[in-house]
């Protein structure tokens, strides 16, 4: 049995399995689902960030007692993105009922107290349990403090004192969590979705061509064909891996095209997957498809029935989510052992590639090497299982 013949037979098995699965609606849907779910969720979250940003830029400030402090109201109106409106009759009630996000109350004696250079009590009514209102309340609070500071400075100057004397410490806020930062946080999900797409994309072929083939009774006639078991297992594995790779590539393309469908650029969210990223994504994710397809084939072969195989797949699919969820909770860092761990290696590589820092060539090689070696071991094990009468005849 020559190697050339075995390779030809592997190609025949791959072609048959791919043709078969292209006609399998369940397989196609699982690929469509795995490919599109990531971009859809990311697009949705990006839009939320953009909406929030727009909301925070325009603030509606209901003011009760506008007539008592026309200068303050005028000043507020001059600030960009601020709409000053007449406050509700019962401001506390309105904020509690979430009709308003906040309300400002200017006291009747504003002008008198102000002219005596005494502090005027201006109330901000807010519900601190409301997270969505917090940035708006913060913004209004800052605006009022700023107005107070400006007036204070003018008063000092009028008394011949440098305003600087009243400010022993000058606080400067440097806000790191900009919209871009939030967008970057969303981007941390992309590696997980790419890995998920690869994992789910090959799953249906991996189960249908092993557990499914046995359950239909077509495995026994197949094994009567003159070829080593490794040929059949190898063909089935590679067919599943190719489907996984196609899913990975499609998800990557969809993610790269997200900016076309979302007005991200004009909102100041920088998000781009360019050709230089795509090379890195492919180098990081495609070898992993070989591993995930091999793992799925091995597990499905061990299962006693197609149903059992499917329920195992339901558990396996949590695997690629582990690094994603951990990565969202703690920064994973770049320890060398990570590259040598299946699933985690590709995840860390993808995170780095998308974060704009291309990892060293060695990291790619180690990760790909580990995926290929573990895949080869798993395929070897599956081929051994295919030799077992207990497995073939499902005893």
């Amino acid at each position: 049995m020559s190697i050339a013949r075995s390779l030809r037979q592997i190609a025949i098995v791959i072609r048959k399995e791919l043709k078969d699965s292209l006609r399998d609606r369940r397989a196609l849907w699982s690929i469509v689902f795995s490919v599109s779910i990531g971009p859809i969720i990311i697009g949705f979250m990006m839009n939320r960030v953009a909406d929030r940003q727009r909301e925070a830029e325009r603030v509606r400030v209901p003011v009760v007692g506008m007539q008592y402090a026309p200068a303050l109201v005028d000043w507020l109106r001059q600030q960009s993105g601020v709409d000053v409106v007449e406050g509700p009759k019962n401001p506390e009630e309105a904020v509690r009922n979430q009709q308003e996000e906040l309300a400002i109350i200017i006291p009747k004696d504003f002008a008198r107290t102000f002219n005596q250079s005494k502090p005027v009590v201006v109330q901000i009514i807010a519900d601190s349990s409301r997270n969505d209102a917090r940035p708006i309340v913060e913004r209004v609070r800052r605006l009022l403090q700023q107005y107070g500071a400006e007036i204070g400075s003018l008063r000092l100057i009028a008394r011949g004192i440098s305003p600087a004397a009243s400010q022993p410490i000058l606080l400067e806020d440097i806000e790191v969590s900009t919209a871009q930062q939030r967008a970057a946080q969303i981007l941390t999900f992309i590696p997980m979705f790419i890995i998920m797409a690869g994992f789910v994309g090959g799953m249906q072929i991996a189960t249908d061509s092993t557990a499914g083939e046995r359950e239909r009774g077509s495995l026994e006639p197949l094994l009567v064909n003159p070829a080593p078991r490794l040929v059949f297992v190898g063909g089935k594995w590679l067919a599943a891996a190719l489907a996984a790779m196609a899913s990975t590539a499609l998800t990557t393309v969809l993610c790269a095209n997200l900016p076309r469908f979302l007005p991200l650029e004009e909102m100041g969210i920088r998000f781009r997957i360019g050709p230089e990223h795509i090379t890195g994504i492919i180098a990081a994710a495609l070898p992993m498809c070989l591993f995930s397809a091999a793992l799925q084939s091995a597990v499905a072969t061990l299962a006693r029935s197609f149903k059992e195989a499917q329920s195992y797949m339901g558990v396996l699919v949590l695997m690629p989510m582990i690094p994603g969820v951990l990565g969202a909770l703690y920064p994973l860092g770049n320890a060398p052992w990570m590259y040598a761990t299946p699933m985690l290696g590709p995840y860390v590589l993808l995170t780095n590639v998308l974060g704009g820092q291309t990892p060293a060539m060695n990291a790619f090689l180690i990760s790909a090497g580990i995926s290929i070696v573990t895949a080869a071991i798993l395929v070897r094990i599956t081929a051994t299982l295919f030799e077992s009468e207990r497995i073939i005849f499902g005893r």
């Binding site: 098995v13 048959k16 043709k19 006609r23 399998d24 006639p221 009567v224 064909n225 003159p226 070829a227």
Partner: protein, 244 residues
């Protein structure tokens, strides 16, 4: 030609096949006759190398099927018991898939596929997916698929089980034709009439052992029963009596 010598196969504490020996000649139909659970299917599975015998030897055209299973498989056409098809592939694609795995391709494969589709009168269903096929249609696909590489030796495990009269007749026609072509046909069945009508030589198996072999006439003479069915019952129960 298939020569089997002293085959034994044990599953746990159950001995499914216990020292089976027989020869199936070229240009002849050999019937493997026995009640359910006698060890027919296990014997055939060892012949077509999806099971390994514990002891014994199998020769397919002088090829040692245990030492070189793939060479032996290349010379065998097999219709396993309770075989399955791919519901999303057409009948033609089934033939092409197995033909390609046997190393046939291109014009030769198309020609051979056409021959078999004609022979089994399958042209009407050739390009339909097998998902909704009747039992008879499925058996035809399985049979054509087993013959796509023109094997010298053909193993059929209860091929007429559950078939209607028309399909049974089609199977018999093919089997006779294979014999005329000088091929070796090994045919298992638990149906007496089938075997006596078709086979040149019969091997009766009971409890994993060969209890008799010969032409239908020889078996009748051997047991002293004119009716082959009575002969069979006598043989199958004689063995049990002998063991107990």
């Amino acid at each position: 030609m298939i020569r089997v010598d002293q085959l034994r196969k044990q599953f746990g504490t159950v001995t499914a096949v216990n020292g089976v020996s027989f020869t199936a000649e070229n240009g002849a139909i050999t019937g493997l006759l026995g009640p359910n659970g006698a060890g027919k299917t296990t014997t055939l599975r060892m012949l077509y190398a999806v099971m390994r015998p514990d002891t014994g030897s199998i020769k397919v055209d002088e090829v040692d099927a245990i030492a070189d299973p793939h060479e032996a498989q290349g010379r065998l056409g097999v219709l396993p018991d309770g075989f399955g098809l791919y519901p999303r592939l057409t009948a033609r694609e089934h033939l092409e898939y197995f033909g390609e795995l046997h190393g046939i391709s291109g014009a030769a494969l198309r020609q051979r596929t056409k021959e078999l589709l004609d022979l089994l009168d399958m042209n009407a269903i050739a390009d339909r997916r097998t998902a909704g096929f009747s039992h008879g249609e499925r058996t035809k696909v399985g049979l054509a698929r087993a013959l796509v590489h023109s094997p010298q030796n053909v193993l059929l495990d209860e091929p007429t089980n559950g078939l209607d009269v028309m399909s049974t007749r089609a199977v018999r026609t093919i089997v006779r034709r294979l014999k005329e072509e000088g091929r070796c046909v090994l045919f298992s069945s638990h149906v007496m009439q089938e075997v006596s009508a078709l086979c040149d030589s019969i091997v009766v198996i009971a409890h994993g052992q060969v209890v008799a072999r010969g032409t239908p006439d020889e078996l009748r003479r051997h047991t002293g029963h004119d009716n082959l069915e009575d002969a069979f019952v006598a043989l199958a129960s004689a063995d049990r009596g002998g063991r107990e």
